[in-house]
């Protein structure tokens, strides 16, 4: 993460502690909903800082947030999404690439630990790992599932924060249960179908270098955007 983005996020997290419980919940819902948009992370944090100023000053004046923002919080966020600078195709590509690289890398590391490979490595010096259909399919499904969960939570941020069990939460719970069961079944039945063996250092080097590259490119864009704002 860019240093400027990190610094701004830290400042915003500190500011949130000054808000009342209701205002803090409202700010959280708005920021999560904004993450559903095409606005870049830095711009969302800038908006978050400005919204905090509006909501906090209203709080100090003894006014409620709907007197400042109105009752249609979703509509307000959508106006902001349409007014702000949209992410370019290159930025969206970097963001998705980052998620895929980090997600796949993490799942690969988990597989290294739980598949017994480490035991093979330290006891027999075997640096080759089996790649099965189950591993490939479950990895792809887990990445797709994570993106779907992120999309769902950001799109329905306001609906999910309602009192009691909402139909959106029910849909999420049932959907997740079906998805998770399917994942276990796939892993169970397809894990034994071995496709090939790979020297484990090759994917590790690929993950590490592509992670560093995408992170550096992303930070460069964030610094450029932050520089143009300040």
């Amino acid at each position: 993460m860019s240093n400027l983005l990190k610094k701004l996020r830290k400042e915003n997290n500190e500011n949130d502690k000054l808000l009342s419980k209701e205002n803090d919940q409202l700010m959280t819902n708005m920021v999560v909903y904004l993450r559903h948009s095409n606005l870049c992370d830095y711009d969302i944090e800038v908006i978050r800082r400005e919204l905090f100023g509006m909501v906090y000053e209203a709080q100090l004046r003894g006014e409620s947030s709907d007197m400042v923002i109105g009752e249609n919080y979703k509509g307000f966020c959508e106006e902001l999404m349409n007014s702000g600078r949209q992410k370019s195709f290159y930025e969206k590509f970097l963001q998705v690439a980052y998620i895929i690289i980090v997600g796949t890398g993490a799942l690969f590391a988990i597989e290294l630990i739980f598949s017994g490979f480490l035991l093979e490595l330290f006891v027999h010096g075997n640096i080759y790992m089996s790649i099965s259909i189950g591993l490939l399919v479950s990895t792809a499904l887990m990445i797709a599932g994570s993106l779907a969960v992120y999309w769902f939570i950001t799109k329905y941020a306001f609906e999910l924060s309602g009192k009691g069990l909402t139909r959106y939460e029910l849909f999420f719970i049932i959907g997740f249960a079906i998805y998770f069961t399917g994942l276990i079944i796939i892993k169970f039945f397809l894990d034994d179908i071995r496709l090939f063996e790979i020297n484990v250092f090759i994917p590790l080097i690929i993950f590490a270098s592509s992670y560093l590259l995408v992170k550096m490119l992303g930070e460069r864009i964030t610094d450029r955007i932050a520089g143009s704002r300040n």
Binding site: G53, M54, E57, M67, F76, L80, S83
Partner: protein, 109 residues
Amino acid sequence: MFDKSQLMRGTLEGCILKVITMKPTYGYEIMEKLVCHGFDDVREGTIYPLLVRLEKKKLITSETKPSPLGPSRKYYTITQNGSEMLNSFTAYWDSISKAVKSIMGSEDE
């Protein structure tokens, strides 16, 4: 029932530019000025997305200054492009408001 939001959206940007022309100002103060001149339904949340849009179009610039109430405030100033936009909005508003008044005031044919 007439949907006034479209009409509001079209005119508020020009009115905000006019308020900012008077002196460097911030969101809440702009809102108070608009309410003072008869925009009863306007809130700070109504104009904030418009300020974001105006800044994106480089019609206004902003500067963050400390505020007596706590968090820093963003003060807006109009740019040269903003002044030109305001002039063309004012000219267009003069001609369209005359045309609307004329039609509304005319008898049925």
